[in-house]
């Protein structure tokens, strides 16, 4: 069996002739916390729905737990049901049945999952201070997010797919939730695949990152490796700015403000520093970059 819990190769999906996924290659290692990033409309939700077996891919392959979730022989639903039994899922809009109370939705969801964890259910009911008798429409968006997390985590799932899990939560609740997610991943080896627009949160808990843009994976890998590779260089010219006609490989973006030139390097940093130092009258400094800088650089340049 593959070391990846999720693996897609050249995954394609279109809606009314409009491509949403254009050959997506995605690999999520078992036991990782994978931050799936992208702008609105980049294809995150389409990817998630395809992985859940809710959408039929037009081309390519997708496997979750080694099971194909693309329809090749008309048996997708049967395979997808088996896969979904092992997944905890938080939807993007956090909508649940408006006619149910908190305790009713828990009672409704429980029988679908043979590995349902009563202990986790009770723990998060208490921790998230969810009122069992309250109707779902009467809950704030933050409370609904917490309820969805409870429903996802209590399934005893091997994989949590979380679409904007902290959406609507206040900073304190966000921190609680993130801490819990890390604790779950650490204690049970649960793989987490989550999308978020809050890059600082992703940076805090993710160990792997994938950035999707226009249906294609443009950056993927370990966050530590990424941060080690990417650096921002600040080149200060003492006199007039004399840029080289061509930078060596690895320069992603160059920005000039007066006599200060800022360079984002994705690799080959030493060679770039050397080239910058060879320019007349320069002082070069290296700075670590944030995930936000990496993200913005890639989506803008695409």
């Amino acid at each position: 069996m593959s070391d990846y819990i999720i693996e897609t190769n050249q995954l394609w999906k279109s809606f009314k002739g409009q491509p949403a996924l254009r050959g997506l290659d995605l690999r999520v290692p078992a036991g990782s916390i994978f931050g799936f990033l992208g702008r609105n409309g980049a294809g995150k939700t389409t990817t998630i729905k395809t992985l859940m077996g809710l959408l039929r891919a037009d081309g390519g392959t997708a496997r979750v737990f080694g099971t194909s979730v693309t329809d090749t022989d008309g048996t997708l639903e049967k395979r997808a049901i088996e896969v979904r039994r092992r997944i905890g899922f938080v939807t993007e809009d956090k909508e649940l049945y408006p006619y149910m109370t908190v305790e009713q939705i828990i009672r409704f969801t429980r029988p679908f999952f043979p590995k349902w964890r009563d202990d986790l259910e009770q723990r998060y009911l208490k921790m998230f201070e969810l009122p069992p008798k309250k109707k779902i429409p009467d809950l704030s968006k933050g409370m609904r997010s917490k309820l969805m997390l409870l429903l996802a985590i209590s399934r005893g799932a091997e994989l949590l797919i979380l679409d904007e899990p902290t959406d609507g939560l206040d900073p304190a609740a966000t921190e609680d939730v993130l801490r819990e997610l890390v604790a779950i991943a650490a204690s049970s080896g649960t793989t987490m695949f989550f999308s978020s627009h809050q890059l600082s949160e992703v940076e805090l808990i993710a160990d792997h990152i994938g950035i999707i843009e226009q249906g294609k994976m443009i950056v993927a890998g370990s966050l530590d490796d990424m941060k080690a590779q990417y650096q921002r260089l600040q080149v200060v010219f003492t006199n007039s700015v004399e840029m080289p006609s061509r930078w060596v490989g690895g320069v992603e973006h160059v920005r000039q403000e007066g006599r200060v030139v800022s360079i984002l390097a994705s690799h080959n940093v030493d060679a770039i520093v050397e080239q910058a130092r060879a320019l007349p009258g320069t002082a070069v400094e290296r700075f670590p970059v944030t995930l936000k800088e990496i993200f913005l650089e890639h989506v803008r340049s695409n």
Partner: protein
Amino acid sequence: MLWYTLAYKGWLETRFRLLFSLAFGASYCIAVHSIKVPSGPAFGKPILGAAIMMTIAASVFSIMLSGAGIATQPSFQATKGLHGSTLFTLSLPVSRFRLLAVRASLGWLELAGAIAATCCAMWFLFPPLRATATPEEMIKYAVVLIICGSGLYAIPVLLATFLDDQWRMQGSGIAFGALWWLSNHTPLPTSANIFRAMGEGSPLIAHAMPWTAMAFSLELAAILFFAALKVVQTREY
């Protein structure tokens, strides 16, 4: 026990509709009860015909209300577009066949209950009916309404798989009208006409069970249910 869980969800979605349907039937019965009916055999047949028409109308209303697909239906607030929680339902490890089958079965039970209750109430509240029909005929009539109603019921079930909640009732009304027109303007044998079977061909008037129409209705229900199943299995929500 997944069917029980899904039926429980369906019940929470539909209980107010059922209540409304029963209230509608009750208001008919009360209206009928308050009518001062002149005695004499000359009035028997038209009065009976009017009672049957009212029972059919109440039944058809129940049928239109009961039909549902697999999308979440917020109780009584007809909505445009899919409710967000439909994605939650679809993400559960359950087949769409089971989702649709449980939902359709529950709706059918509710309409059967509403029709039976309306027939019962008409029987007790409308003396001319008791004067012209036996209890056995009334029971048979309720069975005919439920079976013939099943074919009609499958129409809103099918429509609910691709129409927004707010258009389902109107869509069902138009489809019933079209089916009624087709029943009277196509070379279909009279014995297979399900609208006739609920009225003049019913056990209350014809004093015989309209077996052909009942069989036709069940066949229609099976075909439409199969079509609804194909829609939910292939549709990307």
